[in-house]
Symmetry: none
Subunit: 258 residues, 2 copies
């Protein structure tokens, strides 16, 4: 079998099952362990997947811990809490809404839970999310935000922010790398900071999705105070002190059961 065929098979399994192990690959492609690993390396280099300890996962479903820099040794895991939060968030969408969907992993996970019985418009700045919406939903009008595209398929540069400025959202579903009472919503890159800030400023209702790991964490750049958010959705593993800290700032706290 050709290299290209093997790689395609891996991608197929990955996007169907959401995960693949190294031993599955050896069986699937009838190759030795070393070749299986090398194939994963090739695909990782292309940005088609993220390697984990024991196999690989789709890029979209992985969001590494904000506390540690990402190296190939950090093993990203499937995060049920991310999924639970995304599902809960999707419940807030109403008929006719004009909403913004974050390009972070929580936004991607939301695409599995969006309502298919009402019509609404989703504004997205990720071609991965756009493609998923295009293929999966007929009831959603998709508005794409352009700009210089990052290697991960997202647009968060000033061009994209400028485009956001021309829109008023009913609701925005956003996230960040961290959230505290002191530092508010924070994120790694300045571009993202600027972009998300613009989104928030353009939205009537601001809904933040923050898995427990992100509460109490402060990333490099602050986007806005926590008080700007109307609703913060977190999960049942969140520390009570963190929850209380944010609640005092103003946002309504919603707990998604894992």
């Amino acid at each position: 079998m050709f290299l290209e065929e093997r790689l395609q098979k891996i991608i197929d399994v990955l996007s169907e099952k959401g995960r693949i192990t190294t031993s599955e690959i050896t069986e699937l492609n009838k190759v030795g362990y070393s070749s299986a690993v090398r194939d994963l390396q090739i695909l990782e280099k292309k940005g088609m997947l993220i390697r984990t300890h024991g196999g690989a996962m789709p890029v979209q479903s992985v969001d590494w811990k904000p506390t540690a820099g990402y190296t190939h040794r950090d093993m990203p895991e499937i995060k049920p809490n991310y999924n639970a939060i995304s599902k809960k968030a999707a419940e807030y969408i109403s008929s006719g809404d004009y909403i913004y969907l974050t390009c972070a992993s929580t936004g991607y996970l939301m695409t599995d839970h969006l309502p298919s019985d009402i019509e609404f418009t989703a504004v997205v700045n990720s071609i991965i999310i756009a493609e998923k919406l295009r293929v999966k939903y007929d009831n959603i009008s998709v508005r794409l935000i352009g700009g210089m595209m990052r290697k991960n398929g997202n647009c968060v540069d000033p061009i994209a922010a400028e485009e956001i400025r021309k829109i008023r959202f009913d609701k925005c579903f956003i996230t960040g790398a961290g959230l505290t009472a002191d530092f508010g919503i924070s994120i790694q890159t300045p571009d993202s900071m600027n972009f998300v800030r613009t989104v928030i400023q353009s939205s009537r209702q601001k809904i933040g999705m923050f898995p427990c790991e992100k509460l109490g964490y402060e990333a490099a750049n602050t986007i806005c105070p926590a008080s700007e958010l109307d609703i913060v959705i977190t999960d049942s593993s969140a520390a009570p002190e963190h929850i209380e800290e944010i609640r005092k700032c103003g946002p309504e706290i919603v707990i998604a059961e894992i």
Copy 2:
């Protein structure tokens, strides 16, 4: 057996089975290994297939599908003339260029032939093309044009056109549904008409890709006179009278050998 017959046989097997090995070719055409390889080299040069280690695959099969599960059978059959024109067009890209790539099928086909040894910026309004560039090329900066996304993943509405208006391209690679001396470049929908017109107005050098079928045809809406184009790339099956008709309007005519 003639060379052409052998090549055709290879293409036939390829489009039927989606793959062919070198040893299959030696049997199929009753030739030695060296000849089998040379035939593959010839076809690869024409852009009719992609050589792999051990054989070859159709160009489209080596694509990275955004969604899994496609086989080469699901992909539209590549017309050799479209492919030849796309390949020829890609030769016009120089280092540092800021180019627009049409969202039509010729633009998509170009993504198989773009130079990978020089850096340049590609502006695209199709998430399918954007995704392919993202995965396949490291040397290309991709600028995405946003707007209300059509069901096919393209953005050609007024929002997209407005975005184009803010750009000046070194070159644009465009097409249309038809091209005549009388009616110029024509296209089906008004949105597309407006969009492509804007692209042309924003480009220093205008390169049109028009397979022989499109010469002499007039679609509903005219975009601009044929004289606006600097170069028209067509294929060797184009009728001489059509070629002459366009040449008289001004554009340099380039014939891509099928």
